[in-house]
């Protein structure tokens, strides 16, 4: 019975469709120094980038798998992954020029429609590279640069060279090394001094091919007093074999700027999602990670913020949903390196049908960081007896003036809540959907409305066929 219902959940994944593979260049599966060199050569990269890639590759080979996190990590077969796949010869600026199959996919995902209605710019990545890219003219005329990362490297090599690997060194962890070795695509975004970009800009990442490895690399620099709201979404087809998504995101918030980075991760249940996200916040700047993890087989992701300048602020709001066969190992890391810095972390997770969600957090206050404040709240909701939730908080407080609050709760959906909602005409599934949406509400209210509605719909779908 339980097995059948779990199957329903997987079948409910609306984005599990795939198109015929239309690669113009497809590497054989497996990773070697040659593969790394070939990617760099194909992209006609400057020498220094090739060198970083090679160093990172060797580092990746040397580094052991993390011993913490999840046993599922050990099941990754790096040799079966395709590390580069080009599906379109160039990045178009008009949807009509995008190959039809690919355009249809993004139509089904609602991207062109969203772009027209409420986005300031869009990058659409399919497999290894961006197939579509645009930015509103008014933003461009204010000097905002929004490109896919490959084009960013070509057009602004000096900016990329300055910041690439400056926040996440390639030696940071095994998957950051892997990404640095084989990265392709991702976003490059620069907002000039004092420019406030009010409409969100979005990147959408789609894996279509089997056994695909997607390794986008994103670099966002907000110059002094600038403001940006960046949103990313991602989906993939449901295959019986696994795909690997391993991204690196680096944010640089210069003095007085604000970067908000929102993610709705909805990979299919055959994707390993191993992502390093980190930002550096200079004086009086703010970095906010709004991070939603609904899909994937295994996600390991701990958005981090280094509060380097006095008065900087960090905000991490995350939700994770772990269903059948899923492990969401997520969390947040905040390092208070300067005085008068503040941080808020809110983490909410739901486990259902044997799913496992873990919160892994790190809060550090260095000795010279006087008068810091931090509040951490972790709430877990467990929907059945087979499911699991764990919390692994780490705190290193080196300054006694720090004001730290930490609250954690684990709850179960109560029979009283279900009875109350059902007595108002809601089926058990609908009632569970209401409880789950309500639990995630502190997160969804931070999202642009369109995303909030979509997320609630997704969660309601997840509840269907899942009770019995």
């Amino acid at each position: 019975m339980a097995k059948d219902s779990a199957q329903n959940v997987i079948e409910d994944y609306r984005f599990g469709f795939h198109d015929p593979e239309t690669a113009t260049i497809r590497f054989d599966s497996g990773l070697s120094e040659k593969v790394v060199r070939d990617i760099s050569e194909l992209k006609n990269e400057p020498e220094w980038m090739t060198e970083i890639r090679i160093k990172a590759f060797h580092r990746f080979e040397q580094m052991p798998m993390p011993k913490w996190g999840s046993d599922i990590l050990e099941t990754i077969d790096f040799d079966s992954i395709v590390y580069f796949l080009r599906s379109s010869e160039k990045t178009e600026t008009n949807w009509d020029d995008v190959p039809e199959d690919i355009k249809n996919t993004f139509d089904r995902l609602g991207i062109p429609e969203a772009e027209q209605k409420w986005l300031g710019g869009v990058t659409a990545q399919y497999e290894s590279e961006a197939v579509y890219h645009s930015i509103r003219e008014d933003l461009e005329s204010q000097g905002v640069i929004f490109l896919d990362m490959d084009s960013g490297l070509k057009q602004y090599p000096e900016i990329v060279k300055k910041y690439f690997c400056s926040v996440v060194p390639y030696s940071d962890n095994k998957f950051a090394a892997l990404n640095t070795a084989v990265w392709s695509g991702g976003s490059f975004l620069y907002i000039p001094k004092g420019v406030h970009v009010e409409m969100p800009v979005q990147a959408y990442f789609r894996i279509n091919a089997k056994n695909m490895g997607q390794f986008e690399r994103t670099l966002i620099i907000a110059d002094e007093g600038a403001k940006i709201n960046y949103v990313e979404g991602c989906t993939a087809p449901t295959y019986s074999t696994d795909s690997l998504h391993s991204a690196v995101v680096e944010l640089i918030a210069l003095e007085g700027s604000t970067i908000r980075y929102s993610t709705i991760q909805n990979w299919s249940a055959n994707v390993y999602n191993l992502v390093t996200k980190r930002g550096v916040a200079h004086a009086n700047s703010t970095i906010e990670w709004v991070d939603g993890n609904i899909g994937s087989k295994l996600t390991m992701k701990y958005p981090a913020i280094l509060l380097r300048g006095e008065g900087a602020h960090a905000e991490v709001i995350s939700v994770a949903y772990a269903g059948k066969g899923q492990h969401q190992d997520t969390g947040a890391k905040v390092h208070h390196l300067a005085p008068n810095t503040t941080s808020n972390i809110l983490s909410k997770s739901i486990s259902k049908h044997g799913g496992r969600s873990s919160y892994r957090g790190m809060l550090q206050v260095t000795p010279k960081a006087d008068n810091c404040r931090s509040k951490i709240v972790c709430d877990a909701l467990i929907l059945d007896a087979d499911s699991r939730s764990d919390t692994y908080p780490t705190m290193e407080i080196g300054n006694s003036s720090a004001d730290i609050e930490h609250e954690a709760s684990v709850s179960k959906a109560s029979g009283d809540q279900l009875f109350y909602l059902m007595s108002r005409g809601h089926s058990e599934t609908e009632a569970m959907g209401l409880i789950v949406n309500g639990f995630f509400e502190p997160f969804t209210r931070e999202l642009p409305m369109e995303y909030a509605v979509e997320l609630n719909r997704l969660l309601e779908l997840e509840m269907e066929g899942s009770i019995g």
């Binding site: 009875f419 059902m422 007595s423 108002r424 058990e428 409880i435 309500g438 995630f440 509400e441």
Partner: protein, 248 residues
Amino acid sequence: MGEEVLRVENLHVSVDGVEIIKGLNLVINKGEVHAIMGRNGAGKSTLANAIMGHPAYEISAGTIHYLGRPLEDLQVFERARAGMFLSFQYPVVIPGVQVGTFLRKSVKAVRGDDSPSPRQFRVELKETMSLLDMDPSFLGRYVNDGFSGGEKKRLEILQMLLLQPKLALLDETDSGLDIDALKVIADGINSVTNAAGCLVITHYQRLLDHVKPDFVHVMIDGVIVKTGGPGLAGQLEEKGYEWLDSVV
């Protein structure tokens, strides 16, 4: 009197293996208000929850018919959609779910094809809330989260008026209310009594000063020991329940 709404025959209900209701009979017709009075632990709330279908309340014998059909095969939400409503003694907190959203979805679930259009719904909601002296800011709060006792009961009655039940079960709706709130809530209840059968569970006579019962039943130890007219409530208020203990 109107058509039969509820028929309870020889009902036995157990919770965790302990029998609480021990052979109860009750018939409620449309347009009738029945009050059930009794001390704590007499089984009053158990009766309401069992009729609504709470899974923890096991019906070990007897039958409940609603509008002529047996209830046993209907799930809780199906009972609600068929027009049954329970006003909870202890309304449950649903964190993060806004009252406005909850009411809209509940009306749609219960009234189905007869649901008002979004615009009609807003009008209906506004009028009903003003009848119950509720501020529109209620709609943005989370269901019962941080509500005072009186606010919770108002929200229960608001739901009842919007869901337009054919059978209203009101479990201690008067508890924790000051006199002004009591009047407002009584007005709310009175506005549905023509179209519905009502079962009002209470400890005290004071709600019955405002909601006139057609029948008053006294429940002791899981059975109805005495049934009378509205005057019986006054007698209980004066004399307590001791004089009835000998009846058991």
